[in-house]
Subunit: 373 residues, 2 copies
């Protein structure tokens, strides 16, 4: 039986869209939704300490099962007392199932109903991941929310191939649920179906029959035109139960987050804030600025005067430009802190707008199809 | 006239050695000596934020005139409101003169009494540094303590060559003093003389005639046997005035710091804590541990149980081993935080021991010649 800590309280719903404000309870604390979750692939959010992450107002963070299985291994993390203790994050953690990474990062040897055999890009070792194995790893890692092992079809792929992957994902979900051994972890299912809206609906309907504590939409942001994302989300969410959290995997762009919130999504994750930072790009009001650009050389304003983050309250664009030009790692840290804060604030602003019945007014620039944001 | 803020109060002197505890006042706060100063070459201590640096209990930090002249340029730093504001360090800052870097990092075109012409390793640009120029740059950067431009002879070098460089350093000091235009910056002279103890004495004696607010010993840690460092220091300090601060440039190893404190040194700087961290090495009780080593893989203790730093209070050796193996930048940050804290604590422990008249007792392992520390 699932720990009663996993409650999702729906607090308010938008009158004009499906946008909602809620609160997800976990054994390690609450998550106010909609909310962006930073990604800590290898049990750390790249270049950012947990203390800095707290200052960014991060609530739930992600870690990647695939990466942690390869290095340092789930047994070591368990021996350390679990992921929270190992990486020193006392808030909620979510681990993905490894499915997405197996299909996007690895050299696949074979895929069958049993599972996937692939070669580790780290040392060439042949690894098998099955629904049971993914859940066993996630049980050992000990995150608050864990994900079902899914087959993520590539883009583009034929209707038949996507349908087969989607069906297999449903069959695997059953095995995941049987394998799942911890009541202090909530297992979310993943809606698949690629860009085929009827397959998305079918997948959602099948998953709902399992009465899960939460549902994710996976297999997006894999190369399809970004304007399809909101359509994919809108095809699935009407079939998902209202009183369960909904998580759109791997999406962290302003426009797609706003449109997905309008379609009823509660949680997001993406590596974009830290990845952009390592390329010197800062997220500002729906835009990206390359701080290496010469126009910032003598610009002594902060990245964003309205941003309360450590970077914006203490450092200038000129200083960041100098650090980037000098290839100083501190530049990546400072921009990561800003970018993470910025995406969390964006989702917090959506939440506040929903609660105040002003979501459509305030986010219209992101909701209209013609927006350049 | 020098700002009266620059007072050096001698608080206690060891009965058995020349070790002393003091307090240096600067326009940006006090420095309790003996004290280790972290190095922020390019206006940042590599991988560490100023907030983290404060948590390490750093008081005065260094920045490098040579590097900042090349990138971003002293005019930009001045436009930003000076180094303190630019790098967001509100405590005392010291800039070196660029002399050491010109002679160790650049391709020298010519050296004359006028100054040094060299080629920037960054873009091949030909740059001339003179005593006047070095001081002008440092006046623009705006550190609390600035250094005289010196000629740093290589090691090994002939007696004649070292004597000539040392004499030139004294001649340049006079020009530095004439060029120095800010009363809120204290200009320290630099004792040269290589490994020749009589030249060290002569240099110290010549410098003292200028009645400077502080004195440094330069041109050490340039390749000479480490056991010579204490001898070089001991040859110079007896000639330096007791009531002025003494700074040993570029030294940050336990044994050499302890022996130099015993010879009357108050301040140290070195890139060692951050450089070692980027190689995965942690400083522990006089030793260096390579945390990449397999023996730390399942070691769930902190680097040092007695260390109060952010890293030691929250993370295990196993976690750091994992970050290093994964080449995660956060590992370098966390180890830098520990290493900086460790060297500052080492100098703070020496200070406390001097004040308690227990310096020789407590640091005997570092003071005896036979020590392996």
């Amino acid at each position: 039986m699932l720990n009663p800590a996993f409650q999702f309280k729906l607090q308010h719903t938008c009158k004009h869209t499906k946008a909602r404000a809620g609160e997800l309870d976990t054994p390690h604390g609450k998550v106010q939704t909609p909310r962006f979750m930073p990604v800590g692939t290898l049990a750390n959010v790249k270049t950012v300490t947990p203390a800095q992450l707290s200052d960014c107002d991060a609530q739930m963070v992600l870690a990647n099962t695939y990466h942690l299985h390869i290095q340092p291994g789930e047994d070591l993390v368990a021996e350390a007392g679990g992921l929270h203790k190992f990486m020193h994050w006392s808030g909620p953690i979510l681990t993905d199932s490894g499915g997405f990474q197996v299909f996007s990062l690895s050299q696949i040897r074979s895929i069958s109903d049993h599972g996937v055999v692939f070669q580790s890009p780290r040392d060439g070792k042949v690894i098998e991941l099955t629904p049971e194995k993914s859940i066993e790893i996630q049980n050992q890692l000990g995150a608050d929310v864990i994900m079902a092992f899914d087959e993520c079809a590539p883009y583009p792929a034929s209707y038949e191939a996507v349908a087969a992957a989607s069906d297999r994902t449903t069959r695997w979900l059953e095995r995941c649920l049987r394998a799942h051994a911890r009541s202090d972890q909530a297992l979310f299912g993943i809606v698949q179906g690629g860009v085929f809206l009827d397959l998305r609906r079918k997948s959602a309907q099948e998953l709902v029959a399992f009465d899960l504590p939460g549902y994710a939409i996976g297999g997006v942001s894999v190369g399809e035109p970004p304007e399809l994302i909101a359509k994919i989300v809108a095809a699935a969410t009407p079939w998902l139960p209202e009183h369960k959290p909904r998580y759109l995997m791997g999406v962290g762009t302003y426009r797609e987050m706003a449109q997905s919130v309008a379609a009823g999504i509660d949680l997001f994750d993406c590596v974009i804030p830290t990845r952009l930072a390592r390329h010197g790009a800062a997220l500002v009001a729906g835009d990206r600025w390359n701080l290496k650009n010469a126009r910032f050389k003598r610009d002594f304003a902060p990245i964003d005067e309205d941003c309360p983050c450590y970077t914006c309250t203490n450092f200038s664009r000129a200083y960041l430009n100098h650090l980037l030009k000098s290839q100083e790692i501190l530049g990546y840290t400072l921009i990561s802190i800003h970018n993470i804060t910025e995406l969390i604030r964006f989702t917090k602003r959506m939440r506040a707008a929903i609660l105040a019945d002003r979501f459509v007014d305030q986010f219209s620039e992101f909701l209209s199809d013609g927006s350049q944001a």
